[in-house]
């Protein structure tokens, strides 16, 4: 099985997935030892949290072809849910996690039933509306959420007797969760469920003829991607210990979509690349001060023009090109 990367489900594909995730986890584990200072660790943590959301959104948008402009809202719902459960009601964090993910999934389920009957622009508008409503809710229910000034005093994470007080410990936790999420997602794609999702993307009619219950699958992947966002929201709230509505606004939903597209649609590693790139880029560009936004936008435009299949797609093409030209050179040398 040489040449083209085999996306189909077979044993070799599964081994490759596992090897990729292990290599990724090792890289994440080693990363902090090469950082110049502790501030970059914060950037890495946020990048991992974003990558968790984007992984779910890629399953929904990249694979199943269903857009959501409301994923910031799911992220926020979970953050506020765990904040209120643990800080206001003093519940243990394990329970906070269950409540946050359970509540967010339930909301996604209820929202998904009517909205997923829509498609294309209509689905985008419906999920956008949901996101805006939730955003207004965070701002207006001042007594519950603290309103626009945010919710202060979310406790730092403590799970199963382990306290994650140092940033380094927190990073290892977040990186571990991300690696796990990647493994679960890759396994899911490499199965009849993944094939069904990709089938829905290109032809709903043909998917139905193959016996795929498209309504059920769309709802399943919508709820699953919201649950990913909920896990991210939980980790986010207990890391920053302060949350405010601005983190969960429409513009963040758009940023998430950008991460999916920029990284590479229907490519799980593209999701990670997109999230890391777009989270780190503003930090790198800070040296340009006033021109930061301008350069940021310029880079995005250039990326979309020259990398239509995303960062990972472009990198794969580049590697393939280098490999083939190297082979040609070697062939030439042998001939001589």
């Amino acid at each position: 099985m040489a040449g083209r990367p085999q996306k189909g489900s077979d044993v070799a594909g599964n081994r490759k997935n596992l090897a990729q995730v292990l290599a990724f986890a090792t890289a994440l584990f080693l990363a902090p030892f090469f950082l110049p200072n502790e501030y970059y660790l914060t950037v890495l943590i946020i990048a991992c949290i974003n990558a968790i959301i984007v992984a779910g959104l890629n399953l929904l948008l990249g694979y199943a072809g269903q857009i959501s402009l409301g994923h910031a809202a799911f992220f926020g719902l979970s953050s506020y849910a765990t904040a209120l459960a643990t800080a206001k009601f003093g519940l243990p964090m394990e329970l906070g996690l269950i409540i946050a993910v359970g509540l967010t999934s339930l909301v996604a389920f209820l929202i998904g039933i009517p909205t997923l009957k829509l498609s294309g622009h209509y689905l985008a508008m419906a999920t956008l509306g949901f996101g805006v409503i939730v955003y207004i809710f965070f701002n207006e229910t001042v007594e519950l959420t603290g309103g626009p000034s945010g919710y202060v005093g979310v406790p730092r994470l403590k799970l199963f007797g382990l306290v994650f007080s140092s940033d380094r410990a927190y990073y290892f936790l977040v990186a571990g969760v991300l690696a796990l999420i990647m493994l679960v997602s890759l396994n899911l794609i490499n199965s009849r469920f993944g094939r069904a999702l990709r089938a829905i993307h290109t032809s709903e009619k043909a998917a139905q003829v193959s016996g795929v219950d498209i309504g059920k699958y769309k709802l399943l992947i919508f709820v699953l991607s919201a649950a990913y966002a909920a896990v991210a929201g939980f980790l986010y709230a207990h890391y920053l210990t302060f949350i405010a509505p601005t983190s969960f606004s429409f513009s963040f939903s758009v940023a998430l979509i950008t991460m999916v597209v920029l990284g590479g649609m229907a490519n799980m590693w593209g999701a990670v690349a997109g999230a890391f790139f777009l989270t780190a880029l503003p930090q790198v560009l800070q040296v340009f001060e006033t021109y930061e936004v301008l350069i940021f936008g310029g880079i995005l435009i250039v990326c979309m023009m020259f990398l239509p299949d995303g960062i990972v797609g472009g990198a794969t093409r580049l590697l393939r090109f280098l490999a083939s030209s190297l082979k040609r050179k070697q062939g030439g040398a042998d001939a001589r």
């Binding site: 099985m1 040449g3 083209r4 085999q6 996306k7 189909g8 489900s9 077979d10 044993v11 599964n14 679960v184 396994n187 899911l188 490499n190 199965s191 009849r192 469920f193 993944g194 094939r195 069904a196 990709r198 089938a199 993307h201 290109t202 032809s203 009619k205 043909a206 998917a207 139905q208 003829v209 193959s210 016996g211 795929v212 219950d213 498209i214 229907a266």
Partner: protein
Amino acid sequence: MPAEAAMPALLECRDVSVRFGGVLALAEVDFTVARGAIAALIGPNGAGKTTLLNAITGMAPIYGGVIRFAGADITAMPPHRRSKAGVVRTFQNLEIFSNMTVLENVMTGAHRRVKYNLLDAVFKTPRYFRAEKQCVGVAMDCLEFVGLAAARDLPAGELPFGNQRLLELARGIAAAPELLLLDEPAAGLNMKETRQLGALISRIRDERGVTIALVEHDMDLVMSISDEITVLQYGQELAKGTPAAIQRNPKVVAAYLGDDEDGDDDRGAGRANA
């Protein structure tokens, strides 16, 4: 209906009507397919052939009538449940999964036959590996059947048009249907390809025991492989019979060639008189 007496009907459409707004696309049409037969549905453009196929597969809203498959009433079933019951179709405008390889397309066709749950997939249980291996086997068998085995790892969108038609057939038989509905399978194929397709369709019936109903404009193909032909015009049944009988039927000849005496269109004749 002579065919019915010999073999029990696998598909039975009784008085099926489909309405799009004010337009009655199908008006109380009967359509029966005997088990093991190759039945053809012909008629001029706009006669409602594809609409009937859509109604049978659950993709057009049924306004009236009953559809029975293998004795069970499937009139109200959603499309994927009909597929699971054994009613599978191909499309006039190809509906290939262009984001997958050729093999994956056919594996998706076998979706209903692959049995493992979400947890098996996530934790890669032995059941997952067993079922996936089986699924690859089924898919390869179907690709070999239509002659596309060598193209298994190509992106489906890169196949030439004729091979995409074959791929749809492979995907259809991968579902192991009892009834396979083909919507203009020869459209866009040249004469040689059409002849090969005719042989392939007969083989699907003979070797795989799949009952076939097809909508087709290519009369040579229809006449050479069909056991029974139903002719539709203006959403109504015009004639029904064996290929030989249909070829001699004056009403059918009039509908296709236009006959001035009868008026191929009664409404046109009425208007002319007024």
